[in-house]
Amino acid sequence: MIQIEGVSHRYGDREVLSGIDLSLVESRIGVIGANGSGKSTLARLLNGLVVPSTGRVLVDGMDTARDGAGVRRKVAFVFSDPDAQIVMPTVAEDVAFSLRRRGLSKKEVADRVGDILGRYGLGGHADHPAHLLSSGQKQLLALASVLVTEPEVLVCDEPTTLLDLRNSRHVAGLLEGLAQRVVLITHDLDLLHGWQRVLVIDEGRVVADGPAEQSIDHYEGLMGAERSC
C-alpha cells in the first residue's frame, strides 16, 4: 500500500502540491490534470524521486525519504521520453543493466532478459542498437527494462505522449494486462476507461477522486469552466 500523509511540495517559492492525503491500494489508478497541475510531482513522490517538503510518503511502511533504495525496488517508474531512460547501447544490454547488482548469474540474467523481450515483442531485436528502434519499440524497451526487476507497483508518467495511435493502444493494452499495480499519469482520457480510481489534480490539490467515469466528467467540467471564463 502507498500512503501519502499531509504532503506538500515546493520548488523554490512555488508550491506545486498542497495538503495531499491519500491511500493508494487499487490495482489501477489514473492521475489526470492540466499541465503544471502537479501530477508529475505527485508521481515522482511515489518512488522517492522527489521527497516531499512536508509530510511523508510510505510504501509498505517504508518512508521514501529514508529508504529510497528499498522503495525503488518495489516501485518502478516509466517516463514519457524513453530516450532518456535507455542507458545501454543495445536492447538486451539495457534490460540486463537493470539486473546488475542483484546477485544473479549470467545465465539467470540472460534467461530473464530473453523472456521479457519475447513477451514485449522485442525478442528479434535483442542485439539491435537501442537508439535505432522506433518510438513505440523504445517505449516497450523502457517498460521491459523496469518490469524485468519484477516491481510491485509501476508508475508511468505520460508513457504514450510521444506515441502514435497504434503504439499508444499497444502500450495501453500491455499496462492493462500487467499483474503489477499501475499508477498512470496521462492526458489521454481514453486510456483510463473502466479504471477503478482516477484522481484529478488541479493547482496542486486533489479535486476529484473516484471511479474513472466520475472523475473524467469532473475534469472535463473543470476544463470547460476554465475555457468559458
Binding site: A69, Q85, M88, P89, T90, H131
Partner: protein, 199 residues
C-alpha cells in the same frame, strides 16, 4: 576509444574474453606508438584488416569506423608534413587511424556489459582509495550511450536552423544543442535514480 556498436557474431574474435581483447588493444597500441614508422603502420593495418575479415566484417565496415576522423586527419596532414616530413605524417596519422580501427573492432565484437564487467574488475583495488568501480563503469556506459543521442540532437538543431532560414548562425545551432543536451542529462539522471541504478 569505442566508436562502433556491438554486432553479434560467432567468430573467434567475438568469442574471445573482453579482458583479453582489451589487453591485446593495449599491447597493440603501445607497440604502434613505440615503433612509430610507416612500416609499423602498414604492418598494423594489415593485422587489423585481417582481424576485421576474421570477425566477418568487410572493408566497408573498417572504413566506416575511421570515417569520423576524416576532418581531423585532413587538418593534421599538412601540419605534420610541414613539421616532420611525409614519413612523419604517415607515421603519426597512420598510428592514430589504425589504433582507432583496432579499438572499434573491440566495440563491434564485444557487448558493452562485458566491457563494463572488465572495467569494474580492474578498478576493484581502487575501492580502497574511495573509487566506486561500478560508478566508473556506469560513467563509461553513459558516455557511449550519449554519442548517438547528441548526434541526433545536433542533426535536429541543424534542421531547425535551416527551417528558420538561419543556416549561418552559430548561435541558432549551439544554443538549442547545449540546452537540449543539458535537459537530456537531467532526464537521464532522473531515469537512473528511478531505476535504482545508483542506490
Amino acid at each position: 576509444m569505442l566508436t562502433g556498436t556491438y554486432r553479434p557474431g560467432t567468430s573467434r574474435v567475438h568469442r574471445s574474453a573482453a579482458g583479453v581483447k582489451l589487453l591485446g588493444l593495449l599491447v597493440f597500441s603501445t607497440l604502434l606508438v613505440a615503433f612509430q614508422s610507416p612500416v609499423t603502420v602498414l604492418v598494423g593495418l594489415i593485422l587489423v584488416s585481417g582481424l576485421y575479415g576474421f570477425a566477418g566484417f568487410g572493408v566497408r565496415t573498417l572504413v566506416g569506423q575511421v570515417w569520423p576522423l576524416r576532418w581531423f586527419v585532413l587538418f593534421l596532414v599538412p601540419f605534420q608534413w610541414w613539421t616532420a616530413g611525409w614519413q612523419g605524417a604517415v607515421a603519426v596519422i597512420g598510428t592514430l587511424v589504425v589504433a582507432v580501427a583496432a579499438a572499434a573492432l573491440i566495440s563491434l565484437t564485444t557487448r558493452v556489459t562485458d566491457l563494463l564487467d572488465v572495467i569494474a574488475r580492474l578498478l576493484e583495488p581502487a575501492r580502497a582509495i574511495g573509487v566506486d568501480p561500478d560508478r566508473v563503469a556506469l560513467l563509461v556506459a553513459l558516455t557511449i550511450r550519449a554519442v548517438p543521442v547528441i548526434a541526433a540532437t545536433l542533426q535536429e538543431a541543424r534542421d531547425a536552423r535551416r527551417a528558420r532560414g538561419l543556416e549561418h548562425s552559430t548561435r541558432a545551432l549551439v544554443t538549442p544543442l547545449v540546452v537540449r543536451t543539458i535537459r537530456h542529462a537531467d532526464r537521464v539522471g532522473d531515469a537512473l535514480a528511478a531505476r535504482g541504478i545508483d542506490d
